[in-house]
Each structure stands twice: as structure tokens, then as C-alpha cells.
């Protein structure tokens, strides 16, 4: 698509303007600038009638598509620039393939009998396969299920290395899949009850994709630190957030850094900050350019940002019922359970865009496509 000179000028102006450190202090609302990128943000959401959706919006917060789903979706993964897969939360059994250009659900896949999804998946472009984390209900064992992205048939099922596998993703430089096994046993008949809090064994597992062999597994410093959500940096630094299931007065770091072959190391923050997070982290996203990771805590209504290099907390923002966080090419987009969006570009103090009025409750994850 051709871009007019006028648009280019505006784009250039906006890109230079938002790098000015003084901009935040002016309080200027540059919504005209925010609408330039072709990035689309995709998230699961639910409205007040309990209808579940996959929603697509742009960096101005304009809703582009709202695709009705049969149940609540958790994380979204992009197959290409046009298609995404929305993965059902536990104990649901559906995958939804959605064309985010047309806003159509083009395919719906049901988990094999006796399995349910955990809300997360990864795309292995090398082998053209989708990898989902699932629960084999009768045994309670976590499974990695490999589906062909063309036929959508299951190619293989292997143990995930633990109970309650959650987020999974591929390393950048190695043919390796990372899986967070939360360690918590649940059963669809017991709704969302946690059945093994005194014996849980969470871990972070690495699988060589060619052989599907477990090559490394690390455990958190406390057996009740359920490792669930992570992001991977360009240098394959895994930043993983935990949900603590132990004594309510304990104060432990909730976020850890790990590199294959090395030790798990906590991110640094004052005890008061971990207390503010109330034992609960949700979404993790990395700005590789600035070397910053952002982590949301819906319970605490707070997002923390750490410098990757020294694992030090650099700033935080209050955002009630915050949910998804993702870094696009330009900034961190945040969602919450009250239909609000915030887009922080170039600084983390003043959002370039803040959208208040969407009558949706965003789920805990958000991705940027394009």
C-alpha cells in the first residue's frame, strides 16, 4: 500500500516527537500519532453478558474486530500476520483459529477426549506445528500436544515434565521449547480447586524440539511458587512470573530470570513491592531494545518494570485489575479487566494513548501482531 508524503511526514514527526523526554511533562494527547502503526493487538475478552470474544484493536485503542468465541480464551499466538490461535482456559477444550484481518473464526479444534487446554500454545514454524499445553484428565499429568498446522491433526503427545503446564514458547537461538509447569493439579469436576497445594512441584522445563527430549529442568526456591507465565528475550533470557500458593504472610520474589544451563535468579525489588503484588503475577513482556521487562499483577493492580541486565526494578505503574502487557515495536500496551487500555511509548510515566470506554474485560494476555 502506498503511503502519501503527508502520512510519511506525520509519521516522521510523531516518531521524533515521542523520543523527546520533555513530552511526558507536556501532557499532550498525541492520539493522531498513535494511530500510525499497522500493529494490531489481540486479546481474549468477555463482556458483561458473559459472552467471550477474541478482540483486535489498534494502537489508538480502536476496536477493529470482536469475534465471538464459545468459551473464555486465555493466551493468543500468531500463526502468521493474518491468523492467530486463541487457546481456551482450563477446563475448556477448544482452540479457535481467527483471521484478524477479516474478523472471522475460520476453524475450531477440539482437544482429544480426556484432555483440556491450559490456555497457552506455541508455534514451531520450522516444523509447521502448534504445540499446546494440556491436561490428561484421568492421570492429571501435563502433556505437550503437537498438531500439524495444516491438517490440525495431532502428530505427537509427550509429557510436559510436570503437572499443570502453562505457558510455552520457543527459544530464539536454539531449537528448544520452554515450558512452565505450574505444578498445580486441578480436575474439571472440581471447578478451579487446587488439589495438591502441599505436594506441588513446579518447574521450568526445556525440551529439544527435534527429539522432544527433556534437556533441562529448574525448580523455584519454594515448592509453592507456581511458575506460569514468561517471556523470552532476544538473547534467550527467560523471565518467568510466579503465583505463590503458600502462607499469606510470606514475602518471596515472584519473578525470576533463567538462561539455559544457568541458575534461576530472582529479580530484585523491595519486600513492599512483592507484597503489593499479592503473590500473583499474570503477564510478562520484554522490550529488547531498552532491555526492560514488564510484569503485570492483577491482584495488586500494579505493573513492575525491571532492567534485564541487572534485574533491578526501575519503575512501576498502578493500573486497577491490570491484565495483559505486550511490547509492540514502539511501546508497552496494557489492558485491564475494566475495558481500559494504556499505551506507553518512549516513557513509562505518561501513556501516549489511554482508552477508557471499551465495555469489555480483557483476559490476562495480549499479543502484538504486525
Amino acid at each position: 500500500m502506498a503511503i502519501s508524503m503527508k502520512e510519511v511526514s506525520r509519521r516522521q514527526f510523531c516518531r521524533s516527537a515521542i523520543t523527546l523526554p520533555m513530552l511526558a511533562a507536556t501532557g499532550l494527547n498525541l492520539t493522531g500519532c498513535a494511530n500510525l502503526s499497522a500493529t494490531r493487538f489481540v486479546s481474549g475478552a468477555t463482556d458483561a453478558t458473559q459472552q467471550d470474544y477474541l478482540v483486535v484493536f489498534n494502537d489508538s485503542g480502536e476496536l477493529l474486530h470482536q469475534v465471538a468465541l464459545a468459551n473464555r480464551a486465555h493466551d493468543i499466538v500468531a500463526i502468521d500476520k493474518q491468523h492467530v490461535v486463541a487457546v481456551s482456559r482450563r477446563p475448556f477444550t477448544q482452540l479457535f483459529v481467527v483471521n484478524i484481518e477479516s474478523g472471522e473464526c475460520v476453524k475450531q479444534i477440539t482437544a482429544q477426549s480426556g484432555f483440556h487446554f491450559y490456555g497457552h500454545a506455541a508455534v514451531d514454524t520450522k516444523r509447521n506445528q502448534l504445540i499446546t499445553t494440556e491436561n490428561e484428565i484421568v492421570t492429571g499429568r501435563g502433556k505437550l500436544v503437537f498438531r500439524n498446522l495444516i491438517t490440525w491433526l495431532i502428530d505427537d503427545v509427550v509429557d510436559s515434565g510436570g503437572i499443570g503446564p502453562h505457558q510455552c514458547a520457543l527459544l530464539n537461538s536454539k531449537d528448544v521449547l520452554v515450558v512452565a509447569n505450574g505444578g498445580i493439579l486441578t480436575h474439571p469436576k472440581e471447578r478451579r480447586k487446587k488439589l495438591n497445594l502441599t505436594t506441588m512441584k513446579p518447574n521450568l522445563s526445556y525440551f529439544e524440539l527435534a527429539s522432544k527430549r527433556l534437556i533441562e529442568q529448574v525448580t523455584p526456591p519454594h515448592f509453592q511458587l507456581s511458575l506460569r507465565h514468561f517471556a523470552i528475550s532476544d538473547t534467550d533470557q527467560v523471565i518467568i512470573g510466579a503465583q505463590y500458593q503458600g502462607y499469606h504472610r510470606d514475602t518471596l520474589p515472584l519473578i525470576y530470570s533463567h538462561q539455559l544451563g544457568e541458575k534461576l535468579q530472582p529479580l530484585k525489588a523491595p519486600a513492599e513491592f512483592w507484597q503489593q503484588m499479592q503473590h500473583y503475577t499474570a503477564s510478562v513482556s520484554i522490550d529488547n531494545g531498552a532491555g526492560i521487562v514488564g510484569v503485570s499483577s492483577p491482584r495488586g493492580g500494579v505493573i513492575g518494570y525491571w532492567q534485564l541486565a541487572n534485574r533491578t526494578l526501575i519503575t512501576s505503574q498502578k493500573f486497577t485489575d491490570c491484565a495483559g502487557i505486550t511490547f509492540s515495536k514502539e511501546g508497552f500496551m496494557l489492558t485491564n479487566g475494566k475495558g481500559q487500555l494504556k499505551y506507553f511509548v518512549a516513557n513509562l510515566q505518561q501513556p501516549l494513548m489511554a482508552q477508557q470506554g471499551l465495555k469489555l474485560r480483557f483476559d490476562n494476555h495480549l499479543i502484538a501482531v504486525g
Binding site: 502453562h166 504472610r249 491482584r299 479487566g337 474485560r361 480483557f362
Partner: protein, 378 residues
């Protein structure tokens, strides 16, 4: 209750206006224009009404019960040869305290949620025997007083620890006689004083000082950015309590089959778990209607013209209360009979319907969005 008062006052107005007839020489009576509040005015009135007529009275009542229990424990422990009737009297004072706590459970915000006060008053569910371990630690302490209690883990500090001492281990007989009596009496009095102190702090933080929580709550200030945010926090806590009632307090105890998980019932030692649920709903109902004052029902009608939704909510309260009142045995016994289990399953379904009604139609109409991602565990 509010409904019947409204009907009575409406009837009296009608009688005064139209009852006589015949007289045509008076000026026609013109109804005064109805002045509707703005949404902001209505929120302000609702929050003030909640604080003044439900929350603070509920906490003051709880404080009074804690004072009475403290007194009752001192009286009991001063007896040289207490009888079973004396113990029953002390248990009655504990039950009143526990009931007032359950009535206030819909307010899990502000001072009670700070500094672990909520956990200190009631550590439940107790998945790791914190209460029995805490009481054992207290009894093993060199000095047993309220400061020792306050220094121990939360299981030792509150209403469940008192229940444990009053009902467990030979059904509380160790409080009546024997070598252990004095130590156990000291423990009861020390926990009673600790409970009283916690509740006194809650009341004080709500009402006194230069920056009482009452101001933040009614004005949407302090940790809140708007009055709507306060109401949303309030509604979130309701929803959480309703889920705790249906999932933890009833459904979990039901288990898959009889006899259920009786030991996991909230107050299984005293067999008063069902009373707690009744009080929880009394509290939720009080928070919704605020007696004859400006409640969520008024807000719904005045600002959102939600008469139909309001009628459904009224009916839900009626249904839940009817089902609760039809349960004529303790929860711990009901889970062990076919009829009791069927009644409890029906009650859980009605409570979940109520939860769905509130989280869909009520939320949709009022635009009050409870927090969505805080408790989903994913």
C-alpha cells in the same frame, strides 16, 4: 423490609391525596417534579449510606460482641468450679461474636484487609492445621497474654482458635477442670483480648484520626481514584464472598458423596457452619438494601431504571433465604444425608444463579465492573 415500608408510605400518600373525593373547590394537586440525582450524586449517597448504615454499625456491633466475649471469658475463668452450663454460656458469647464477624464479611476492604487483620480474625480455610498448631504454640509459651498471641502466626489469633479451645479436645472439658484449665483459660482470655484489639483498630481506622478510611470510602480518595472505583471494589468483594460460600463453604464440604468433607466445614467443631452462611447472606443483603436507606436497589432504579433487574435480585434474596431457612440441621449433618445433600446442591445452584445475575445483568446495567482477573488463578 425496605420494600414494605415503601409500599406503606405510598399507600398513605394515596389516601391523603385522593381518599375524600367530592370536594371541587380546592386547587388541583400537582405532583412536585421528580428531581433525579445525577450518577455522581447517587454514588456519593450510596457510599455514605453504606458506610453510615451498614459498615460502621456492623463493625461497632462486632466490637461490642468482642467486648462481651472478653467479659464472658473473664467471668468464666474466675469461677473456681465452672459447670457445663457456664461453658455453654461462654460458647454462646463466642457464637454471637462469630456471627457478627460473619455479618461483616462482605466488607473485605480498607482497614480489615490491611496488616493481615482479616486473616488474624479468621484463618480459614485452614489447609495446614495452622489453628491447632497456633493454639499449641500459645499453650507452650512461657507467658500467655494478648501480646504473645499477637506475636504468633495468624492461626493462633482469632475466632477459630477460640472455637478450638471451646470445643476441641474432649469437647472443651479441659476448660472445666484439670491441670490444664488455668493455662487454657489464660489462652481464651488472651485471644479474646487480641480479637478485641484488632476489631477496635478496624473501627478506629474507619472513623477516627485525620484521615479516616470513611473519607476515602465515601469520596473515592486515598488509594481510590473515583467513587466508582470504591463501588467496584465493594462489589468485587461481594462476588468473592458469594463464590466462597458456594464453592468453599458448601460445595467443597459436600464432596462427591456422603459423608462429604465434614472436617473442612468452616466451623465444624461447633457445628455452626450453616449459621455462618446465613449471616453472610444477611450481610450481603444489608449491603445491597442498606435497610431503609439509599441502597444499591435505589441506585439501580434511580440511575439505571433497572426495575426488572431489581425485581430479579429481590427474588434471588427471597429464594436463597427460603432455602437456607428450610435447612433444619447443621451443615455437618446435612452433607451426610441424601435429603440434606439434595437441599445443599439446590442451594448451591440458586447461589450460583444469583452470582450470574449479579455479574451479568447487574454489572451490565450499572457499569460497575468487579475486578476480573484477580482471582481466576491463571
Amino acid at each position: 423490609m425496605k420494600k414494605s415500608i415503601q409500599i406503606i408510605s405510598l399507600c398513605s400518600v394515596l389516601m391523603a391525596c385522593g381518599g375524600g373525593g367530592g370536594s371541587s373547590d380546592k386547587d388541583p394537586i400537582i405532583d412536585p417534579p421528580v428531581v433525579k440525582k445525577t450518577k455522581e450524586q447517587a454514588m456519593a449517597e450510596l457510599l455514605t449510606s453504606q458506610a453510615e448504615h451498614y459498615i460502621i454499625p456492623a463493625y461497632r456491633g462486632l466490637l461490642e460482641q468482642s467486648t462481651q466475649f472478653e467479659q464472658a471469658s473473664a467471668n468464666f475463668c474466675s469461677l473456681s468450679t465452672p459447670t457445663q452450663d457456664d461453658l455453654e454460656s461462654l460458647r454462646g458469647a463466642w457464637f454471637s461474636l462469630s456471627q457478627d464477624w460473619q455479618y461483616s464479611r462482605a466488607i473485605k476492604m480498607g482497614p480489615v484487609s490491611e496488616e493481615f487483620r482479616h486473616f488474624r480474625l479468621q484463618y480459614w480455610p485452614d489447609n495446614n492445621n495452622a489453628v491447632s498448631r497456633g493454639v499449641a504454640s500459645l499453650l507452650a509459651s512461657a507467658e500467655i497474654n494478648q501480646f504473645t498471641v499477637a506475636s504468633l502466626q495468624d492461626g493462633a489469633q482469632g475466632i477459630p482458635a477460640l472455637e478450638y479451645l471451646l470445643y476441641f479436645e474432649n469437647n472443651g472439658a479441659l476448660l472445666l477442670s484439670g491441670d490444664e484449665r488455668e493455662k487454657r483459660c489464660l489462652a481464651v482470655m488472651a485471644i479474646a483480648a487480641n480479637v478485641h484489639d484488632i476489631i477496635a483498630d478496624v473501627v478506629q481506622l474507619w472513623t477516627e484520626g485525620s484521615d479516616p478510611f470513611f473519607a476515602s470510602f465515601t469520596q473515592g480518595s486515598g488509594d481510590y481514584t473515583t467513587q466508582q472505583a470504591v463501588l467496584e471494589d465493594f462489589v468485587t468483594n461481594w462476588f468473592e464472598l458469594i463464590e466462597v460460600i458456594s464453592d468453599n463453604k458448601i460445595n467443597h464440604v459436600l464432596g462427591f458423596e456422603a459423608p462429604g468433607r465434614i472436617n473442612d466445614a468452616e466451623q465444624n467443631l461447633s457445628q455452626t457452619s450453616l449459621n455462618n452462611i446465613k449471616q453472610n447472606f444477611k450481610g450481603i443483603e444489608a449491603a445491597y438494601y442498606v435497610g431503609t436507606h439509599y441502597g444499591f436497589d435505589n441506585y439501580l432504579n434511580e440511575i439505571h431504571e433497572g426495575h426488572q433487574v431489581g425485581t430479579k435480585i429481590d427474588q434471588s434474596f427471597i429464594d436463597i433465604n427460603a432455602q437456607l431457612n428450610a435447612l433444619n440441621a447443621p451443615l455437618e449433618q446435612l452433607v451426610n444425608t441424601d435429603q440434606g445433600r439434595a437441599q445443599l446442591v439446590a442451594l448451591v445452584n440458586t447461589i450460583r444463579d444469583f452470582r450470574d445475575l449479579m455479574s451479568s445483568e447487574f454489572v451490565q446495567l450499572t457499569g460497575l465492573n468487579p475486578n476480573f482477573n484477580s482471582n481466576d488463578g491463571d
